[in-house]
């Protein structure tokens, strides 16, 4: 079992004709993901080198109607990404994973408002995230597939490369993963820790959870509270940025908005207070989870 993606996923790649989109679409195909269509406006009917077997369309509508796509991954450049997300939602895509880095905050504020109001049932992951993988079934995004192993650990992370780090450590210890979700580090995003934790808590294929947070904002604190009240499976965590220097943040207002929260020490204290074991260094994340299983 797994969450979000698996054997039932039928993927459309938005921005497949670009070099990044093509590279990672090939990676998905090689991993066994069912990539059913590519979309780039103006490139409908053309072929992408190395992906000749996958039909290209101008619109996501066609990918849904002709190929039954139910999940989209977005690689389009930042100025066009907001439009691409809303196009996917309007076309009836159920899960939208946005890899694109550098989307203006104003665009994401608007996208979130529209999604919340008009498409509350659509799940979104990202932007600025590595993607989602269910080992042995389906890889969507930019993560290196070979480090993953099927198993029972649900992974959720705000950081892309730290996700690879924990997965690699878990696999080396013989602990496979049910699904690894990179929720991304942007200030306005789709799924947050709590949404991912809720999925893992319900998933019979997930027996334990590892969560990676970062300094800034207060979603780790809220996640800690959620775990305390709702999650009975073992949870371990790591917070990146423990030694980040103060003063390199956004003036006074950044600290005010979250009521003075956001420092690594606050987050670690909140997690520990909720009974979650926190890894002291990024090199011991896997061992920390193993120690409570």
């Amino acid at each position: 079992m797994s969450v979000l993606v698996g054997f039932g996923t039928r993927l459309v790649v938005q921005g497949m004709s670009g070099s990044t989109g093509a590279f990672h679409a090939k990676g998905a195909v090689d991993y066994g993901t069912k990539v059913v269509a590519g979309v780039t406006p103006g490139k409908g009917g053309t072929k992408v080198a190395g992906l000749e077997q996958i039909p290209m369309y101008d619109t996501v509508d066609e990918a849904v109607q002709k190929q039954g796509a139910n999940t989209s991954v977005i690689f389009v450049p930042p100025p066009f990404a907001a439009d691409a997300i809303l196009e996917a939602a309007a076309a009836g895509i159920e899960l939208i994973i946005t890899i694109t880095e550098g989307i203006p905050v104003r665009d994401m504020v608007r996208v979130k408002a529209v999604l919340d109001r008009d498409y509350p049932y659509v799940q979104t992951v990202g932007p600025n995230c590595p993607g989602v993988i269910t080992p042995g079934q389906c890889k969507i995004g930019i993560m290196p597939g070979y480090i993953h192993k099927p198993g029972g650990v649900g992974v959720v992370s705000r950081s892309g490369t730290l996700t690879y780090e924990i997965v690699h450590q878990l696999s080396t210890l013989g602990l496979g993963q049910s699904t690894a979700i990179g929720i991304g580090g942007d200030p306005v995003k789709g799924m947050d820790f709590i949404d991912a934790l809720a999925l893992f808590a319900e998933d019979p294929g997930t027996s334990s959870i590892f969560m990676i947070g970062e300094i800034g904002g207060d979603s780790e604190e809220r996640a800690a509270q959620f775990i305390k009240e709702n999650v009975t499976k073992p949870v371990a965590a790591f917070i990146g940025g423990q030694t980040a220097p103060p003063g390199k943040r956004m003036g006074h207002a950044g600290a005010i908005i979250s009521g003075g929260k956001g420092a690594a020490a606050d987050k670690i204290a909140a997690l520990q207070a909720a009974g979650i074991k926190v890894s002291p260094t990024p090199a011991e994340m896997g061992k920390t989870l193993a120690s409570i299983l």
Partner: protein, 394 residues
């Protein structure tokens, strides 16, 4: 991206946000000449001489002087221009003042705090206001959070006037001043939206004795992701405010922050980059920088990143920590090899590679003949980098 107060006020004026009259000056002569012009415009003798640096807390450090007479104003100009201004945000070394802003003095009835930024928890831009203006607002937020009023901007309809009226009432502004606040916030919220701001902070916002509402300060940050929509902002960059390595990094679209230590770091991903700093400190070392080369970096960008690290004279060892996803390890290897060929390598280099195309990357480094210390994982790499600095040998 940050700009100066006087630039922020120029932008405010363009949007119709009321600000006092003022003239910026880049030399002492210009500043002295500005004094009578400001006095003539305002019809009073009082002017305020304000140091223009990006860091906050200028008043506390002696960078802002209210001068009641022309003589006092001239003395303030001579004193502040060129001074090494130390504030809680500059660090102990301070910042040299190379720009001044000469502004009209106002009859102030009361000071308020006004801030505007994204509330991450709800994904909406929020206007914050407090009657405790001019004070240490972080202190107010920590001890009396109820004194910080908040109003969210609904993205569907934008800012509404009733929200400004509600704030005015809660702040205790009278009727006429509240009407001024309504106009003020209508303009300010439009500025935030149009210009892709990430932070607007006005501390203090003042109510004058003659019933006007003005921005006495203007702190503006822009969303770096949206700068492509505002090419005109490029001319507002002040190279004096930027670390030379950070400026070079920006040219290459690299995320770089100079730090105090001596182990240069090149990492992909902000989270891994921060954690690399964490683990270097854990093993007793000090990182010289935060450097995230990003996801889709080219070999040229990696070369540039590597050169930026090596030009920092404090760097005594380099730790490259890469877990490739979108970033391919062979790209990293190509970039490192090119950089070392161009600028040489005077300090130990520890490299940890993992992820996409890792075998190819490792082989390229091994075949290059460069003197590289290979690390098995990030703990191993951090320990080797720390040992290299401490032992001075590889």
């Amino acid at each position: 991206m940050k700009i100066h107060e006087y630039q922020g006020k120029e932008l405010f004026r363009k949007y119709g946000v009321p600000v006092p009259f003022g003239i910026p000056a880049l030399t002492v002569e210009d500043a002295l000449a500005a004094i009578p012009r400001v006095q003539k415009e305002s019809g009073g003798e009082v002017v305020v001489v304000k140091a223009q640096i990006h860091a906050g807390g200028r008043g506390k450090g002696g960078g802002v002087k209210v001068a009641k007479t022309t003589k006092d104003a001239e003395a303030a100009v001579e004193q502040i221009f060129g001074m090494q201004l130390v504030t809680p945000q500059t660090g102990p070394e301070g910042k040299k003042v190379q720009r001044l802003f000469i502004e009209q003095g106002l009859g102030i009835k009361k000071e308020y705090y006004l801030g505007m930024l994204l509330d991450r928890a709800v994904g909406r831009v929020t206007v914050m206001a407090s009657a405790e203006g001019g004070m240490d607002i972080e202190e107010v937020a920590a001890t009396h959070p109820e004194k910080i009023l908040k109003e969210q901007v609904n993205p569907a309809v934008g800012w509404q006037d009733y929200q400004a009226r509600r704030l005015g009432k809660k702040l205790g502004l009278g009727g006429p001043a509240t009407n001024e606040l309504v106009k003020f916030l209508r303009a300010l919220t439009r500025c935030y939206e149009d210009m892709d701001c990430s932070l607007l902070e006005i501390n203090p916002l003042v109510e004058t004795t003659d019933g006007k509402v003005l921005a006495l300060d203007a702190k503006i940050n822009f969303d770096d992701n949206a700068l492509y929509r505002h090419p005109e902002l490029a001319e507002w960059r002040d190279p004096n405010e930027e670390d030379p390595q950070e400026t070079e990094a920006k040219k290459w679209d690299l995320s770089y922050i100079a730090l105090e230590g001596n182990i240069g770091c090149m990492v992909n991903g902000a989270g891994l980059a921060m954690s690399t700093m964490d683990i270097i400190k854990f093993y007793g070392g000090q990182p010289a920088n935060f450097l995230d080369v990003g996801g889709g970096a080219t070999a040229e960008k990696v070369t540039a990143a590597f050169k930026i690290i090596t030009t920092d004279p404090a760097v005594k060892a380099i730790f490259v920590n890469i877990f490739g996803g979108i970033m391919k390890c062979d790209t990293i290897a190509t970039g490192i090899i090119t950089a070392v060929k161009e600028v040489g390598l005077a300090v130990p280099l520890v490299v940890r590679l993992e992820g996409t195309n890792v075998e190819l990357g490792k082989k390229m480094l091994a075949d290059s003949g460069l003197d590289i210390v290979a690390a098995a994982d990030m703990a191993d790499g951090a320990q080797k980098a720390v040992a290299a600095v401490k032992g001075g040998a590889k």
